[in-house]
Amino acid sequence: MLSIYKVSFKNLLRKKTRSLLTVVGIGLSAWVLASLLGFNSGYESALNKDIDNMGFQVLLTAKGCPYEAATLMLKGGTGLRYMQESITDKVLTHPEVEKITPMLMHAVFDPNKGESGGITAYLGVDPATFPAMKSFLEFQQGQWFSDSEAQEAVMGYEAAELEQREVGDSLLIPEYNIELKVVGVLKRSGTQDDGTIFVPIRAVQSIFDKKGELTALGIKVKKDADIARFEEKLYELPDVQVVSLAQVKQTIMNLVSTAKVMVASIALIAIMISMVGVINTVLMSVFERFQEIGILKSIGAMPWDIFKLIWIETFVMCLLGGIAGTGLSLALSKTTGILLRRLLPYAPTGSLIQLTPEIVAVTLALVLAIGLASGIYPAWRAARVRPLEAIRSEVE
């Protein structure tokens, strides 16, 4: 027997070009919508990943101390400030703290570096806590230190390239004439760890005579903790500064929200245009088939049957458009990501468009819901056609 779905589907084939163009319109809207939802989820997730890759969300340093290698280099390796190691106990008393890792940075002038010498920075890290906090770091060669006081070094990818060192080589600390044994070379991580030379913290304290001192304390905060409140509490400690990655993230998210609003506006306009397109296509089709709808009613179709017939046509177009659009968004997610990266003030590493099955399902559901809503008016108009008026009319 002939089903109402088959009748509806075949009706769409009457004006193939018009139906196809409507499906393309819906498809483009679905593509924009899926990409936007994917971007919303992908951007934040990429940014979180970047921040998580730092291993800690809060960095505590002595007041005025440069907290990143680049600043240290700019200052010629000077200007480091120190905190007493006992501060770790005070920080650990806070319930928001999940893990901490103490660090001691030291920079020395290396006359053999480059043409006129340069600064080499050593970052003393705790072998017991640092590798666990930076679990994403992978080794190209070797491994972490054999002992917490060993005079060994693990080199970031760039640092190893620059110094041309491999596992087993020795690394001389200028001025101090102490050789460190390279025990590991890290893979490229895309972070500032790539240019860092890691040494056990006890060894750095001993070599540079900084026993009991730290330059920074990395703090990983518990997931449900109120970071802002925790930071305020940290400022109660004497002579410290708090570098919060949550603040950095918030600033970036604020910048990006402008771009998000722009993309959302485009998506909204695209959806509205496709809605009007759907209404126009289906309404045109209803007007063209005015007499035919009258005949269908005279041969036994109830108003609801006609409503369903027209509604199914809308549904089929939206379903095809939705599938095409989400398929397109999946296929072009990388290209869309590249285009968005050019538009954004700051883009984190990793994929900017994250299309999960949930996003695909939500997009399809939204497109179908919008499409079905668009089909209500034409379907209602068709359902109201009186057979006698339709048969008498001259419209064809």
Partner: protein, 230 residues
């Protein structure tokens, strides 16, 4: 005519259209009876009310006054106008319609066009109707063709098959040969006659074509919305 043999009974049927303040009587005080398995043809000049009468008899329209009974049951009575849904229910139970224009759906095959009414309503026992009707109307070989591949006569045969698929007891044909040449008109006339005689179908025909009208058991002439002879 005794009561049990009457299929349709119209009593003082009147249909008035309002044009501004003016009342136009499309049909006026028409009373008639049509027996079971009778073949009746309505003839008359354009504007005489033939189509209006067949529309009221076929429950496509409500009368302004008068009553219409089918098989002894009053279907439409004077002041009470039936809703579109109620009219549809009666139509699909009792009637099959053939129009001057065939109104076949261009994207559906012959078989699909014939089965179209069953998409909305299917009476018991219609499952095997399709092959029988294709054979009866001589369009078996056209089963999978599209309407654009058919001649006018074949299209009207498909429309007749579509009207018969749900086994109606009354077949209404409004100018069924209006778009056909003489030979094809004659063929359609023969088919209607055959359906009436062999299937026992009550056939109500509206036509300008006197030759076609002569195939009927009874010819009723309408003039100015009223019966004239019969």
């Amino acid at each position: 005519m005794n009561d049990s043999s009457v299929r349709i009974a119209a009593n003082a049927l009147t249909k008035v259209y309002q044009r501004g303040r003016e009342e136009i009587f499309a049909i006026r005080d028409i009373s008639l009876e049509i027996a079971r398995s009778e073949f009746v043809a309505f003839i008359g000049p354009s504007g005489s009310g033939k189509t209006t009468l067949i529309n009221v008899l076929g429950c496509l329209d409500n009368p302004s006054h008068g009553t219409l009974s089918i098989d002894g049951r009053v279907i439409m009575g004077g002041d009470k106008a039936l809703s579109e849904k109620e009219l549809t229910r009666i139509r699909r139970e009792l009637f099959g319609y053939i129009f001057q224009k065939f109104y076949l759906i261009s994207t559906l095959t012959v078989a699909e066009n014939i089965l179209l009414p069953c998409t909305f309503f299917r009476k018991a026992g219609t499952e095997n109707q399709l092959p029988r009707l294709l054979q009866l109307l001589g369009i078996e070989k056209r089963r999978n063709h599209l309407p654009a591949q058919l001649s006018g006569g074949e299209m009207q045969r498909v429309a007749i098959a579509r009207a018969l698929i749900n086994r109606p007891s009354i077949l209404l044909a409004d100018e069924p040969t209006g778009n056909l040449d003489t030979a094809r008109s004659r063929e359609i006339g023969e088919i209607l006659r055959q359906l009436n005689r062999e299937e026992g179908l009550t056939v109500i025909l509206v036509t300008h074509n006197l030759e076609l009208a002569r195939t009927a058991d009874r010819i009723i002439e309408l003039r100015d919305g009223q019966l004239h002879g019969g």
